[in-house]
Subunit: 203 residues, 2 copies
């Protein structure tokens, strides 16, 4: 399993970030208890650089060893988990840079021979399943009705859809601001149940 | 006018990035010729750091002078332009970090007294109008029909919508890969026409 989590730069309302970390903690605990090997990556803690040097653009390798390790983990993973706050309807910048550098050509997707970049790529990832856990200060209903829930489209249809990961479970918990301890506990129980079910399915 | 443009990290198909720069060049030329003062920002060239130090999270000021200059420019702008390739249905990471650090609390939006972060913020920007120019290797129709065009939602409804910029014109040109010189010229003429019309409206 690859588990990546990240916080936004700048203003993040109190609780949103730490509750996102709590969802990653639960997932790691459940997977480890089920004897999965977990590569947990806190992008902020490891100071992942979301901006690739210009000279590396279009390359399928990086001079940054950390990026190479991430790519190897991603390619080998049976299950992928991402954990982050909803930040302007998008992942935090550091996680967006992780997508750009790690879900790269010839690692996560490719093009059939003889077709150009304007054609639909072929997914290369081994994992068939991904779990996305978001935290938010809007409700899931508001996110879906008012904004059309772009995060769902971004993860399910773009990133995982184009890389061959067809089974994506996504949950968004919120509003976290002002939520009761009992409510947060209930959310974490749901994370536990979802990860536990995923851990039981064949790899 | 604030004009920010940026390229994705990692793999960017040939032409997408340079054509995005070409759209920014046209906009700058038109606006300057109409006697607008333009603050053009090439985020990659100025090595904008998309990841804010953790200690600055939730702050309304930054110790990074470049961020402060961006915030002052954004607050003073009558018109905002952004130019970037479509990168997984999202802006490049460096531009996402620009949103996180520059469209910050008390610069771009705020909350009414006595309400929490779970409520809808109040937009603070002076600009009422924004122009978004994207380049892509899908067609606009594919982007809209297959993916629901999340970039449109992200800019129009989240970023500008929540910050008080109600009038957003957005165009996405593509596929750039394999496009004829004549086609790219026609796209740039449209950029010119759109920016010219915006430059003529009262500030």
């Amino acid at each position: 399993v690859v588990c990546a989590h990240a916080s936004p730069a700048g203003h993040c309302p109190p609780g949103l970030d730490s509750f996102s970390h709590a969802t990653a903690d639960v997932a790691e605990r459940v997977l480890t208890s089920r004897a999965w090997r977990v590569a947990r990556r806190d992008l902020n803690a490891e100071r992942f650089d979301p901006v690739q040097p210009t000279g590396e653009a279009q390359n399928t390798t990086s001079r940054d060893d950390l990026v190479e390790r991430h790519c190897a983990e991603l390619a080998a993973a049976d299950l992928i988990g991402v954990f982050h706050p909803n930040c302007w309807g998008q992942p935090p910048a550091i996680l967006k840079g992780w997508i750009e550098r790690v879900f790269r050509l010839d690692t996560a997707y490719s093009y059939a021979q003889g077709v150009g970049f304007e054609s639909v790529p072929v997914g290369l990832l081994k994992a068939r399943r991904a779990l996305v856990f978001n935290t938010s200060d809007t409700t899931a209903a508001c996110e879906a009705e008012v904004f059309g829930d772009p995060l769902d489209t971004l993860w399910r249809r773009y990133v995982f859809g184009l890389c061959g990961v067809s089974d994506v479970s996504r949950r968004c918990y919120g509003p976290v601001a002002g939520s009761a301890a009992e409510q947060r506990h209930a959310w974490l129980l749901e994370v536990e149940a979802i990860v536990n079910a995923a851990a039981l399915t064949p790899r």
